[in-house]
Symmetry: D3
Amino acid sequence: MLIHLSSWPEIDARLKTTKTVVVPIGSNEQHGPTGLLGTDWLCPEIVAHAAERQDEQLVVAPTFNIGMAQHHLAFAGTISLRPSTFMAAITDWVSSLSRHGFERIYFLNGHGGNVATIEATFAEIYAEWSFVEEQPPFVLKLRNWWDLPGVHGFCNRMFPTGHGMHATPSEIAVTQAAYPHLVKTAAMEPRIAPVGPIRDALDYRARFPDGRIGSDPLLASPEKGQEIIDVAVPALLKDVADFTAEVLP
Amino acid sequence: MLIHLSSWPEIDARLKTTKTVVVPIGSNEQHGPTGLLGTDWLCPEIVAHAAERQDEQLVVAPTFNIGMAQHHLAFAGTISLRPSTFMAAITDWVSSLSRHGFERIYFLNGHGGNVATIEATFAEIYAEWSFVEEQPPFVLKLRNWWDLPGVHGFCNRMFPTGHGMHATPSEIAVTQAAYPHLVKTAAMEPRIAPVGPIRDALDYRARFPDGRIGSDPLLASPEKGQEIIDVAVPALLKDVADFTAEVLP
Amino acid sequence: MLIHLSSWPEIDARLKTTKTVVVPIGSNEQHGPTGLLGTDWLCPEIVAHAAERQDEQLVVAPTFNIGMAQHHLAFAGTISLRPSTFMAAITDWVSSLSRHGFERIYFLNGHGGNVATIEATFAEIYAEWSFVEEQPPFVLKLRNWWDLPGVHGFCNRMFPTGHGMHATPSEIAVTQAAYPHLVKTAAMEPRIAPVGPIRDALDYRARFPDGRIGSDPLLASPEKGQEIIDVAVPALLKDVADFTAEVLP
Amino acid sequence: MLIHLSSWPEIDARLKTTKTVVVPIGSNEQHGPTGLLGTDWLCPEIVAHAAERQDEQLVVAPTFNIGMAQHHLAFAGTISLRPSTFMAAITDWVSSLSRHGFERIYFLNGHGGNVATIEATFAEIYAEWSFVEEQPPFVLKLRNWWDLPGVHGFCNRMFPTGHGMHATPSEIAVTQAAYPHLVKTAAMEPRIAPVGPIRDALDYRARFPDGRIGSDPLLASPEKGQEIIDVAVPALLKDVADFTAEVLP
Amino acid sequence: MLIHLSSWPEIDARLKTTKTVVVPIGSNEQHGPTGLLGTDWLCPEIVAHAAERQDEQLVVAPTFNIGMAQHHLAFAGTISLRPSTFMAAITDWVSSLSRHGFERIYFLNGHGGNVATIEATFAEIYAEWSFVEEQPPFVLKLRNWWDLPGVHGFCNRMFPTGHGMHATPSEIAVTQAAYPHLVKTAAMEPRIAPVGPIRDALDYRARFPDGRIGSDPLLASPEKGQEIIDVAVPALLKDVADFTAEVLP
Amino acid sequence: MLIHLSSWPEIDARLKTTKTVVVPIGSNEQHGPTGLLGTDWLCPEIVAHAAERQDEQLVVAPTFNIGMAQHHLAFAGTISLRPSTFMAAITDWVSSLSRHGFERIYFLNGHGGNVATIEATFAEIYAEWSFVEEQPPFVLKLRNWWDLPGVHGFCNRMFPTGHGMHATPSEIAVTQAAYPHLVKTAAMEPRIAPVGPIRDALDYRARFPDGRIGSDPLLASPEKGQEIIDVAVPALLKDVADFTAEVLP
């Protein structure tokens, strides 16, 4: 059940039996010479929507499509929230979803650069309760889609070299599976991009001139993307089910 | 050209000839017994994407899908940002887009409840420059899709009674045109919803029990929605062209 | 009853019978070659104080004299709050007045540029309650003095041409009625000022070199101002009475 | 020259010869059984406006009439800003006045409870420059009106007993001189109010049931108030002149 | 009992009999040619830890070692919080300590420049309760170590000339008593530093080229420092005992 | 060179040859039945100060002793900053240190719960530069002391079972080496604490009743702590030297 394509009485009815909601969250940022700028929010959306098609009990929120991407701002098309803004926005999403009775809020994340800020946000939210000795009416969980059980290993076996850390062939492939008419190609030199630390935008562009980090996105194909999706979808359904079933102390 | 389905070199190249970007912006909130929760962000997205298909020079950002909907929070599925959060997020979008060289940033809005906060944000952004006697490198414009020249009159003629202010048949129709398999129906009593002031969420729900204000959404149909889109798309293209061509003092 | 000229026991006693308070709110900003910088806060103060003299049951707060005027900052004497500051301050006024038992807080506004931010503030305040399913102990209302029933039409009939949008003869006239010794004159070229969009301060000054928008303030006179006040005062008293009498759902 | 009763060209012209502006700043808060709620902003306004009548070269801003009065909130009519709001607002006033070329900004304060927050604000403003090794284009000064040279001693001699710290006969007298028709009286028990620490609003009301601290406001009279004003006005003019003439290192 | 050198069960046990905690708070900032940069946080720490050694019932929190020192930023080694940051941090300390049941929170301060911001913070904290007519579960107190009863007079008698306001021989001496191996010396010209107003960092450095204000730190010695400590410690123990014993209204 | 025990001219002189500063950063939070509440800020302080004794060219800032510990707030003595406060404070430390010319700022961290917020802060700081296409004048680095090259493996070999994640024998041992008179003991049941997710404070206390996660702190001894320090100190010196020597792109 996709919230944005449902009416409020439909969500209201579903809340009688389901207290869990999945929020696809990512970033809109450069993904190398061929990757879509939307890659990091499209991937969790693709996986979550595919899972919803398999199990329409799954409640999926709209996609949180802009995240923390300050280091990519030297590449056209990147849109970034400051971490403080990102924190405020996630907080308001949680407040809204909790207001309706969702008690388990599961963020399916598509951008490694979001992790620190999302975790800091969880702490900011929990702190309001911790300072006053009250129990929050919700539990929050963050899961990167590539960290769904089995996915990371599967991708590494599929791309034993050139997987890298940014504009990886696995994420590119997932978007190619969903948007096969948008497969792009380009010459890339070196074939496998360099690696290094991540700092501000100018530093990033100087280190990684075409945007990639450690990856060879040309290894991607729509078919491989579909294979990854096929591994990720059941893993997501199981992970959400486990989260829903978890007994709190 | 949809930013999120492009690569950064493609946006980079387009920026050589285009300095204008369209940002569909809306809200995820209840739209009565039959309307999609995503109506207010889907409508500007539908119109902007249709316009981009007619003129692929048009650069369209990802959709800003959560806005200011505090008054709808008593209806399941609504997600709202506080105005202060909304302001911070819009500011970061503007900073990001301006960083790449976009000089005219056009927000195509789908939610009346967003207007005050978006205008306040523009003032907040401009104030940074006004306090220090500097010229901002961008111009900001807000346009509600129903205020595109010709659209409002067209909708009023199409729905002479029962158009109302929330969950209007025109916006419902637009989403039905784009998602015809999701046309929903429900008994609504009274057929035309009441009107009144908008305050907090509990007050809203007490005044407008099924969420509608002044509207009869059952008047909507996919065909009518397509007619509206067909009026809105050229109006948008012309409005953006005028904005792009405007000579600054 | 003017709060600032009363003692606390007097306000305490009045609160036994009155739960409504009127807050004159405006801006300190340029008003063309002849208008007083205080025009936008003086006008609602003049009207509210005149109303209080007619009905001393009316509780009037001190005047909130600085608002959102970033676009006027290129003209000497203008003082502006950032919208975010303005929001915080209005919030604290509401918290304070609500603390004492005022349940209906009526802002009589004198500056069009304040409207968006005041409305965003109302939403920010209400959101705290909407997120947690609680009813706020107050109702907020914004009314521009020129939108008091009957006033706008009266002014338009009085000034069929040259009324414009900023430094209008009607607001200038109201201040002249209250401060007749301060009537100023100046050559204005063109007689009716240009119109156009409002953006940052430098853009504003380039478009509107003497500060006026669309107006001919030389049409003003103290006598006309008094006529306007005489229309506005009963309209305010009735509007406040209606607000006080409104039954909540 | 009162800014709010001037036009922008008048302020513009004055700025050619004057770079100093006086900002009366105070608070709207209970002042015991007989004192006006506006006492703390009326007093600096009364003194500053009287000074401006003697020397119309003096530029006086509108009165900043709401300050930090959280401890008085248990008494009806008090309006308080949180310190953080107060800081933001003062910052915006300074930014606005500095924008026009005012280089010496003199706050004439009427409320002891404002002092800490105003000083913290000055530090917050200066910090922006200190962090980046730049010189601010303005100098800020805070002066309580009762600390103008000669005033404090004069008041103490006038009221050797019962002056106290809040709702003092001297401040009450100053407002009586300006508003003689509003002289109020009440039985007060004890005649001289108790003293003690200042904390939150409920604590304050428990300690100081009628609002006074250490004072006997019945000692006030309009005549005494005028005497105080007559001492304060030349002291203010001299203090401002000294501030204007101060040579920076 | 030093919190940071205790285990949580030890603090838990102590809270059964003690509801008061002492927080040494200061600043890390230049202290002239010879003073330690840590002087202002070391002094209250030295005094509080010495007191704790005499009465191990005294609960002492970790030292809050960075305060408001923007005016010293032109001297290497100074670290400053903006007042707004300082306020947020103190608020969180108070929330944390109150969470555990500490009801009397006593800040022993070592930096005059902290006073305004700490007092503004207390007001910010109290305001949350004052706005809603609730009693906070704690009482806050600020005491500068040199204002402990008897200390100021003792220091003035010890240093009848050259005590000054910054890098005073008394504070230097206290650190010398605790760190006798770190006694530094330097030529200072003039022997007694100048005095003047405190503004931004560049202004400060221009007025006070070696950092001192009005002081002759060469008068300090470890022995004198020990004498001061010996006066301050019993004064602190008594002051804390009085604070603990204070009956609230 | 410890900044807080130096004078400003000493730091000034050192800055001629050194542009790197080490900031020990941690948290004050419960560490199980026997661990010191200060463990997480004491450990990086102990290691950094030991390193400074070996190489007095190393510039070490005062210890940032309060971090993000909301999940420990149900245990007495814990003091936590909200992440947003923590971010503001780190930002001000960086601004201050950068002001003096430190170009490489190395945070030696002692608390895993700080990592997300510190990384988010780095992004917040960098974003200011990334939005405007400027290069920051500093590079920031975060290193947990247990992640210094070689340390983690050493600790794991020393404690093959019962190391765990919180109140680990390695961190307890390091504090025992520095404070051998404070070695505490207690019965712990079970000997190795449970593991699980970290959420709010009440959830944490319910899952981990004595505060430990997965650890057996009784394995610690001062001797083992000294061995760990002896491994960490050269690792820190080398890591800082590498950071200093790193060539920027």
